[in-house]
């Protein structure tokens, strides 16, 4: 009897232990990059030889990194605002209006997600070359709105579907016009979906390499594309330092998002 109970106890502990192990293993490459950024050597060393923050200073005082960061932020902010606007309008229409062929339209809106990014990128490269938009800010932003739109639509759809449609109708009956009713009643109700969609959109845009690398101009590149090119040409602790800054920013972003809207529910 006690042997059986002991066996069950071990069986009950194996799964949590395994889960924890895999969760930790998932973070290993992240930890390695952070450690590598601290080394005093000119080459990558893990564990680091000595501890220094010199690589961080080197990266932060490098104007080309700051340029790339500013450009990435600009693109991500504009793309996210546009994506949120047109994505919310589309999701709202799909739920609250009787759209003919709504299922086909929803599938179409999600299509950029399943299409290989490389294919979308080379198609855009050819297209932009033909119409003379290659290398412009607007062409890159349009591409980013395309690849972020599915994330916004998905998060907002979930929120609108669970928000009570009668509340908005009640506001209309009480004399509010369509815009006021939407902004004062529905918008606050779907805020978690909007926030989650906005965060996904911002991260997808800011992190994108496979599409951007085909579309950026020689003079102006995004931060991830710059890091990608740097890694291709040979790795050094400076890359680990800029990567660590990205790791910290992403982690901070996620913790705030979880506290704010319970981000894990939207993944």
């Amino acid at each position: 009897m006690s042997a059986v109970r002991l066996g069950r106890g071990i069986g009950g502990a194996v799964l949590p232990a395994y889960a924890l192990l895999v969760l930790l293993l998932l973070q290993v490459p992240v930890v390695i990059v952070m450690l590598a950024s601290l080394t005093t050597t000119g080459y990558l060393a893990v564990p680091p030889v000595g501890v220094t923050l010199d690589w961080y200073w080197k990266v932060i005082s490098d104007a080309s990194y700051i340029d790339a960061l500013t450009f990435s932020l600009t693109v991500a902010v504009i793309a996210t605002l546009l994506s949120l606007t047109i994505g919310t309008a589309a999701a709202y229409a799909l739920i609250r209006r009787k759209v003919p062929g709504s299922e086909a339209i929803a599938t179409l809106l999600m299509a950029p997600l399943v299409f290989p990014a490389v294919v979308v990128a080379v198609a855009l490269l050819r297209y932009y070359s033909l119409i003379g938009l290659r290398g412009t800010l607007i062409s890159l932003v349009a591409a980013h709105v395309l690849i972020t739109l599915p994330y916004v639509v998905r998060s907002v759809l979930a929120s609108i579907a669970s928000a009570d449609a009668q509340l908005e109708e009640a506001a209309r009956t009480l004399g509010a016009d369509a815009w006021t009713a939407f902004f004062k009643v529905t918008l606050p109700l779907i805020r978690p979906g909007l926030v989650a969609g906005g965060i996904f959109s911002f991260i997808v845009s800011f992190d994108d390499v496979p599409v951007s690398i085909f579309l950026v101009s020689v003079r102006q590149t995004t931060l991830p594309v710059k890091i990608f090119t740097a890694v291709e040409h040979g790795i050094d602790p400076g890359i680990a330092a800029i990567s660590t800054l990205l790791i910290i920013a992403t982690g901070f972003f996620l913790v705030v998002a979880e506290r704010w809207v319970g981000f894990h529910r939207f993944a």
Binding site: V30, V99, V119, V122, Y127, T250, A267
Partner: protein, 286 residues
């Protein structure tokens, strides 16, 4: 009914910005790329004007390129298998645990997913290279004398891609397993089934739709991935997407690159179509 009222009633007014965007930067570019794959490549001048199927025929008749297509597909299948085997127990735990920490444990799955893919691949380069941590550890423990070749080959891509796509598999499976009523498992237990039998006869079959959609997702992502295969495979160990990358940005043979792009797209769309049919059949049966 006026056009304005119809746009409002039908919802197409609100949908139009999104639909126009999809036409302008998704449908139109793909339509423009299609003829590129049907023109010959003229060295030094780019895309020719005559029409031909040679780009497709050349790829399908070239051992080097066929091997690369085969490599992409087998990587896809094996990465699906590894993420499924590693991910299922984790997903099961995260779906069923009553721990207060659950949201934060799920965040540990999401965090690497949202972290820049260049950064994650870079971490694997540091770990897997000849003088990387894994080889140093194995030599230090005395398991091997010379460094194992863990990078710029199939092993490196398999490890890197499994790590990158494991979170996708786990998140899909969590959703499915949460939807299986616990009562069903409890009932089977009460009627005398062993834990293993409950898992094999109740939980696993009921989670089959999740396994299918997670598997399709990971397969599609794997054969489309560009950054990880390029960084962990280097310029010589190619897959379909890195080949397309080189054709467009390095070799500048756009017609052959476009043909490869459409072959990749066809494989992806075919798979999604088949899985759609399969999951529909499942819902009808149940």
């Amino acid at each position: 009914m006026t056009l304005g009222r119809w746009l409002n009633r039908s919802g197409f007014g609100l949908l139009s910005p999104a639909l126009l965007l999809l036409i302008a930067v998704f449908a139109a570019p793909l339509l423009v790329l299609l003829p590129v794959s049907l023109h010959p490549y003229v060295p030094g001048r780019g895309i020719g004007t005559s029409w031909t199927f040679d780009n497709y025929l050349a790829i399908l008749g070239d051992g080097f390129r066929l091997e690369i297509i085969g490599r992409s597909l087998s990587l896809g299948i094996i990465v699906v298998a590894t993420t499924l085997v590693i991910g299922y127990p984790l997903a099961y735990f995260l779906a069923r645990t009553g721990s207060r920490l659950r949201p934060w444990l799920i965040m540990l799955v999401i965090f690497p997913l949202l972290l820049n893919v260049v950064v994650r691949s870079f971490g694997w380069i540091v770990l897997l290279s000849n003088y990387g941590l894994v080889n140093e550890l194995l030599i230090g423990v005395g398991l091997i004398d010379r460094p194992l070749k863990l990078i710029f080959n199939f092993t490196g891509l398999l490890i890197g891609l499994t790590h990158i796509f494991l979170p996708f598999m786990v998140l899909v499976l969590i959703g499915t397993i949460q939807g299986i009523p616990r009562d069903l498992e409890d009932a089977a237990r009460t009627m005398g089934a062993s834990r293993a039998a409950v898992f094999l006869k109740v939980t696993l079959p009921l989670s089959a739709p999740g396994v299918l959609s997670g598997g399709i997702l990971v397969f599609v992502l794997t054969i489309s991935a560009l950054v990880t295969p390029r960084l962990l495979g280097g310029p010589t160990y190619q897959v379909m997407s890195t080949l397309i990358f080189d054709e467009f940005l390095k070799i500048l043979n756009w017609p052959r690159g476009a043909a490869m792009a459409f072959i990749l797209t066809t494989i992806v769309l075919l798979l999604i179509w088949v899985s759609g049919r399969l999951s529909r059949r499942w819902t009808v049966v149940r």
